[in-house]
């Protein structure tokens, strides 16, 4: 019985070890987000005014830009599968004395195909009263999926655009100086991207080069090598075994742990049926002979 107990304890310890391991493994995995912590990136001081001219922000990078109220402000940032991006905006409004009424600011997110993406959290728009000095907005994107059907609008790896605009404002307040501060943060990594095993062959990164029209009769114009693209998420390294091996993920540890547990349970089951020696039949040992008390004391003084 003691042997069994030690085996079970060893199994439990081993399993625990295996299950603990993924945390360190995933941190070291090459597909982990390049963002998150790390050294502070320089603050960007520019902004684009259209999708095409959007200023690229790395994840975790800040932009701090003086703007004119009413400008349409565009930034682009790359997002990879499994990540959840959050855009935080703080607007320092113009002097209250120059303003004539309330103004509404809105932050919107678009994917690389300029499709509007929903925010799952955050006040996406806010109205500042005439006396207000600042306004804070934020928008959290859905988790980026690793694959989606072409017909769906799910968020996919690629470029994302932030558009900050004043959606409702008295015309007399347009053009006044304000300052915007934008922060893009992403969390999560490829490990929990859904659907598992899915991959987008080419991220949704739009070309930004001028196009070329072909004669209608000509053969299909091949994607020109000169095409230039907007901000793209970091490419994963590919190796000769990439197609065979999907990479290290927690499934490996779970499966290996399951195998070990199964093996131990098998040994345990086998042992149970074998009746540990000492509790089974013992043919060579003489059956314990009960101490035979003398069958009744012969009354010796029967003569009495």
């Amino acid at each position: 019985m003691r042997k069994l107990r030690t085996a079970a304890a060893a199994a439990a310890a081993f399993t625990g070890l295996l299950l603990l391991a993924p945390t360190s493994a995933s941190a070291a995995s090459p597909s982990a987000s390049p963002s998150a912590s790390g050294t502070a990136k320089p603050v960007v001081n520019s902004v684009g005014t259209s999708f095409l001219t959007a200023t690229t922000l790395a994840s975790g990078q800040d932009a701090d830009v003086p703007v004119s109220t009413g400008d349409y402000l565009y930034w682009a940032f790359p997002a990879a599968e499994g990540q959840t991006a959050t855009v935080q905006v703080k607007v320092t409004l113009p002097d209250a004395a120059d303003r004539h009424g309330a103004q509404t600011w809105t932050v919107e997110l678009f994917d690389g195909l300029r499709r509007r993406q929903s925010c799952t959290a955050g006040p996406q728009n806010g109205t500042a009263e005439q006396s207000a000095a600042t306004l804070e907005l934020s928008c959290t994107l859905r988790q980026i999926r690793s694959w989606a059907e072409p017909w769906s609008g799910d968020p996919l790896p690629g470029t994302y655009y932030v558009r900050l605009s004043t959606t409702d404002i008295p015309q007399t307040d347009l053009g006044l100086a304000s300052t915007v501060h934008v922060h893009v943060a992403t969390k999560g990594g490829a490990d929990d991207a859904q659907p598992e095993g899915g991959s987008l062959k080419a991220p949704l990164v739009p070309p930004v080069n001028a196009g070329a029209t072909a004669a209608p009769s000509a053969a299909a114009p091949s994607p020109s090598a000169s095409a230039t693209y907007a901000a793209a998420p970091a490419e994963e390294e590919t190796h000769w075994y990439s197609d065979l091996f999907s990479g290290w993920n927690t499934r490996w540890w779970w499966t290996v742990a399951g195998g070990v547990l199964a093996a131990l349970a098998g040994v345990l089951g086998y042992t149970l049926t074998r009746h540990p020696r000492g509790h089974r039949h013992h043919p060579h040992r003489p059956a314990p002979v009960p101490h035979q008390a003398p069958p009744g004391q012969p009354r010796q003084d029967s003569w009495q």
Binding site: G48, T49, R115, I169, K201, A212
Partner: protein, 446 residues
Amino acid sequence: MITTTTPRRTARAAALLGALTIVVGTALGTLPAHADEPGAPPAATEAPKVDLILDGSGSMRTMDIQGKSRMEVAQQSIKEVIDALPEETEFGIRTLGATYPGNDQKEGCKDTQQLYPVGKTDKVQAKTAVATVRPTGWTPIGIALRAAAQDLGTGPTTRRIVLITDGEDTCAPPDPCDVARELASQGIHLVVDTLGLAHDDKTRQQLICIANATGGTFTDVRSQDQLTKRVKQLVERAQDTHTVAPAKVTGTDTCANAPVLSPGVYTDREKFSEHRVYRVPVKAGEELRASVSVTPDRAVARDYGVLLQATDTGGQELVRGSDAGSGRTDVASTGVRWSAAEDGDGDGTGSASASPSKGAGSKSAARTVCLVVSNSFAAQAGVQADPGLPLELTVDVAAASPAPDGPAMGLGRGWILLGVLTLAGLIAGLLFGWLARWRIAVWREN
């Protein structure tokens, strides 16, 4: 109107000059590609070009910006901007209303002068030239914009006009906003940023209209510092984004004669309720990606929408993207993805592929997809419909992504998995144990 030959030649010369400096700077051995070639990527063959228009009308004398006259403030800011000019930027200055002091409107409204030509800037000369400007005459914004567009010439990259003025145009016609829209519709990649020194409603409205028509911005200047910072920012923006300029294309109303597009960015004009059609060939195993933005560059009704449909040549819809909204906006955008079925099939609906042969040949056969762009912007009363709204179309063809097979290699995850495997192991152990015991028992009996 603009004559096309001379500016183009000068533009090409300027482009080569710019390229030469870059080549020297980066020690690159390659010669720049032809800048004017349609569809050639706008490589750094052209320097960013900015023309600044300074209002020299009499009202610039008004002392209402932090105790200084508007002209003083503007001159001081421009000097600081010139000092901070990026190395490669070609910068020019034009004045309007700065030379004719008389009362004759006809004469006053022709008054626009090139103060400093667009090109490599000698900072001292440019600053001296700016200092000579005196507030004098009328405000012919419209013709100044036209002249500035000529100063900048045409080419594959974006040009920027920075207009600093304090008053509404006193010379219409031409209405400066119409001029701006007309310049924008010529497809010469012109952006006008306006800065207003006065704060009356009419000026503001006019400057906002000019900015909207060309995709520029409007700034209401309240202080010297703000003006300086803003103009510097605009010059930097010109430097950062001037190479990003879409190619001009004209869509048709039917698919059969629509232009065939390769991956890249295009611009077109679409009137209210008009449909524009383009064609893109998509091979089997490829995915079409297209997005479109329609800009309301004039007063439109509050609610709006945009629709991008991909159809086959027979008119069958393959996929659609749409977006709608209301209120103040610069663009309405949407996009679509579409990939052909894996086997290259599904063309029973009359879609014509480039090569009629199927089977072995169909692997490389391209299927033509038609992109139909429509918008549901509505003009406000009195708004002209021509030229149409600017439309920006991005087309890309990438490798298609097949549906995933599910979790890789049958690996599992989770406590249920552990439980099932353990139970299976236990049962297997018990079975083998009993089997072994039974066998021993049988062997013992014999």
